[in-house]
């Protein structure tokens, strides 16, 4: 047994370490199109102290550490690009505290979205968190660490905006609390009114430390959820429709989607509007407001509301299990998307681009945009499905996604969860002093460069 393996076993026990070919093969890849790279060890800690010891060991031995949730970013963000230790965080899955009145929860970083949802439904049914569309196995820490979004993002911003405090193991091995929990017992603020240190970790994809605990805002869970589906074939109207809908200031979530299959959806743009209420009256009032708001487009025969009875349960499901089904459209088990954050006025250009890229690279597309913070921006998903047994198709998808990111950057957008190549493209586009600031932060926090190396690597 190697010294490093023995040291890891000493920290987490025999069942918490693997360097077997099977685990090394599996943890070297994610479901996206990026090439795999093998780790040297996969380690599954159960406590913050174990994470601390592992990071200290990695520091002493100068070994990379890649913290991983469920590995479902699709963008290869936890592929160990330079080997080392993949930290499977899913055994750190305790829900530690719910402050009902202050509406926040504190969880261990490896807690799954699904487990938190189930826990709240059972124990605090009037509260909810912003559930992402990613599978229920995805973890809370991974989601905030890549600025994930969820059902409440239109109302309250990125899921990372909903963080109320963090516990982080720094690359030095020190355990650090961020925000109000660094001062007292309450996890009520990740930063304000202090200097907001959470920005040193949120969005960094594990490159500056391992998030071991997360405080997360909870929100009222209304008794009734409902949805309406507005359909138009005029892409130029979409920004205006979204603007009017967000002016209502009462909608849970707004998604715009279009796809060529099934054929009944082809050629139209679909706006799904979600709203909630504690009474039928409240729901009906909101429904009327939505209808009234879009009446002019119905009068001009530019659009109308589509019956959703047959797909209502699918639309309202959280997370949407049907989303993964896109991966099987080409009977091939994969899809990946570029998800730039962009102004809503650019929707028509993005919509044209996704169709253009699909045709150019001969791949199947689907596109969904989600509004963020009441329309200040949108996440525009350019998704391409692929057949995992067709390497040429996977290469075409990779090229299409790279071109999509280049397009988004040209349009003034910023990529969401960019892979390491897209990170480089972004850094090249970035204003030099901002890039220098990133370099300073990274070098100071992780001088050895052991944290998820290959990602957010800033060259001076």
């Amino acid at each position: 047994m190697s010294d490093i393996r023995k040291s890891l076993v000493d920290i987490v026990g025999e069942r918490g370490v693997s360097d077997a070919p099977e685990e090394l093969w599996f943890y070297s890849r994610d479901p996206g199109v990026l090439a795999p790279h093998r780790p040297d060890y996969v380690v599954a800690p159960k406590t913050t102290e174990e994470v601390q010891k592992i990071v200290q060991l990695a520091g002493r031995e100068n070994i990379p550490v890649v913290p991983m949730g469920n590995g479902m970013s699709l963008a290869g963000l936890v592929i160990p690009l330079k080997g080392g230790i993949v930290l499977d965080m899913k055994r750190m899955n305790k829900i530690l505290e719910v402050n009902h009145m202050a509406r926040y929860v504190v969880v261990e970083g490896g807690t799954s979205q699904g487990a938190l949802k189930a826990y709240l439904q059972k124990n605090h049914p009037t509260l909810r968190h912003s559930i992402p569309d990613a599978p229920s196995t995805t973890t809370i820490a991974a989601n905030v660490s890549l600025h994930g979004q969820g059902r409440l993002t239109n109302q309250y911003g990125f899921n990372s905006d909903m963080v109320t405090g963090l516990e982080v193991v720094l690359p030095t091995g020190e355990i650090c609390r961020i925000g109000s929990p660094s001062i007292g017992p309450y996890w009520i603020s990740k930063g304000p009114t202090l200097p907001d240190l959470s920005g040193l970790f949120l969005g960094w994809l594990g490159c500056t430390g391992v998030i071991t605990k997360v405080g997360l805002k909870l929100y009222p869970n209304k008794k009734i959820r409902d949805a309406e589906l507005f359909v138009t074939d005029r892409v130029d109207l979409i920004p205006h429709i979204l603007y009017k809908l967000t002016h209502l200031e009462m909608l849970e979530d707004i998604n715009v989607w279009f796809q060529p299959k099934p054929l009944m959806f082809m050629g139209n743009y679909h706006i799904t509007v979600f709203f909630t209420g504690d009474t039928e009256e409240e729901v009906e009032f909101k429904r009327k407001m939505v209808w009234d708001c879009l009446q002019e487009y119905m009068d001009s025969k530019d659009g109308g509301f589509m019956s959703i009875q047959y797909m209502k349960s699918m639309l309202l499901e959280m997370p949407g299990r049907n989303i993964a089904d896109f991966a099987d459209v080409p009977k091939g088990g994969g899809f990946e998307y570029s998800g730039p954050i962009a102004p809503i006025e650019h929707f028509p250009q993005y919509a044209a681009k996704v169709v253009e890229l699909a045709a150019k690279y001969n791949v199947l597309y689907a596109s969904t945009a989600r509004l963020i913070s009441g329309g200040h921006s949108m996440m525009y998903s350019i998704s391409f499905a692929f057949n995992r047994s067709d390497t040429a198709m996977m290469e075409r998808v990779e090229q299409a996604l790279t071109e999509a990111t280049a397009f988004a950057l040209d349009m003034g957008g910023i990529p969401w969860k960019p892979n390491f190549k897209e990170q480089k493209m972004t850094l090249e586009k970035m204003e030099p002093n901002a890039r220098k600031l990133l370099l300073m932060i990274k070098k100071n926090l992780d001088p050895q460069g052991i944290m998820n190396p290959g990602n957010w690597e800033v060259n001076s």
Binding site: S18, P21, F26, V42, Q113, S136, T137, D325, D328
Partner: protein, 391 residues
Amino acid sequence: MTYIRHIEHENIVHRCFRCGYCKFPSDYSDFNCPSYKAFGWDTFSPGGRMWLTRAWLSGEIETSARFAEIMFSCVACDNCKDQCVFPRFKDFLPDIFQETRAELVGEGRIPPGVRDYFKAVAISGNPYKLPQSERGDWARGTGLKPFTNQKHLFYAGCVGSYDEVGKRMAQSVGKMLVDAGLSVGILGSEETCDGNDVRVLGEMGLFAELAQANIEKFKAKGVKEIITLDPHALNTFKKDYPALGGVFQVRHYSEVLAELVKKKKIKLKAYPVKITYHDPCYLGRHQSIYQAPREILKAIPKAEFVEMHRSGPDAFCCGGGGGNFFTDILGTAEDSAARVRVREAAETGARILAVACPNCAKMLSDAVKMENLEDRLELLGIAEILERVRK
């Protein structure tokens, strides 16, 4: 030696997205895959098995003890099949895992526990390596007679015939059937293993031999209707035997007893106790029999029936399926399925944990001891409870 590997459904394995829905029950409250729960590596989840199977078929990874452990730790509980979000291939997941195990059996690279299980069944006709002559001893005192031309054959199975916990369950069922006046007989020392777990573990040749022998025996004796103690036997009799020419009317004993209770052939007295029920995978998810055991328990006057958080199609397996009852690859650590399950049962506040499968009974009774729950939780078969409450 280089093996050319092939499984029937290999054109599907690349279609798994490894999204992980397969690990959960429908409400996501906890991991519902016993091997993932026990080992905690993604490789031990259904998605992990799918991806590894693909890598193994393509030669990216080799056969190893670890690979075999991963494949044989699957308990065939079918939760993944129910929870997978891909309707066009979800039904084939358990088949793919079984086919992979069958390939490993063909290569001769299987865990020692699996090898020993096959050897015992092949040589002794049962996994306990106990004499065939003792197979029917459990029935002494039940009033059950050897099968001649009775209407029903009561098939006890290996666990019901040889294991102490299983024998108690078999005896209770036997007494109930006899006392209710059913025309029923047993094969006793002529009974042999049904082969369900042999098939699930991938020894298809041995399974075919066992099944053919059973079918010929049943036919020769004029068996038309079978009542099984063991849901595993029920499953293979109903799903696999017809394709081999063995078409019989097969029911689980809980279905028969539920009918007898309903018809007042078994009359019940009051029993003020809180009872919960564990759904066996081969009765529930495999055969969709959820109500019969519950109808019996709910019919007991003054008894309070309470569900565990995970129940019915969402029930968490005891960890004894897929041959793990015998091979014990999952082990008995804190996160082993049976220990998790009895903790869940205890959380309900129930005094009795009712079971309808001898494998589950043994797994869970051992776990009750390991969790030091003997003072709080009594484990009883459905018929054992009926024995206690019948007038």
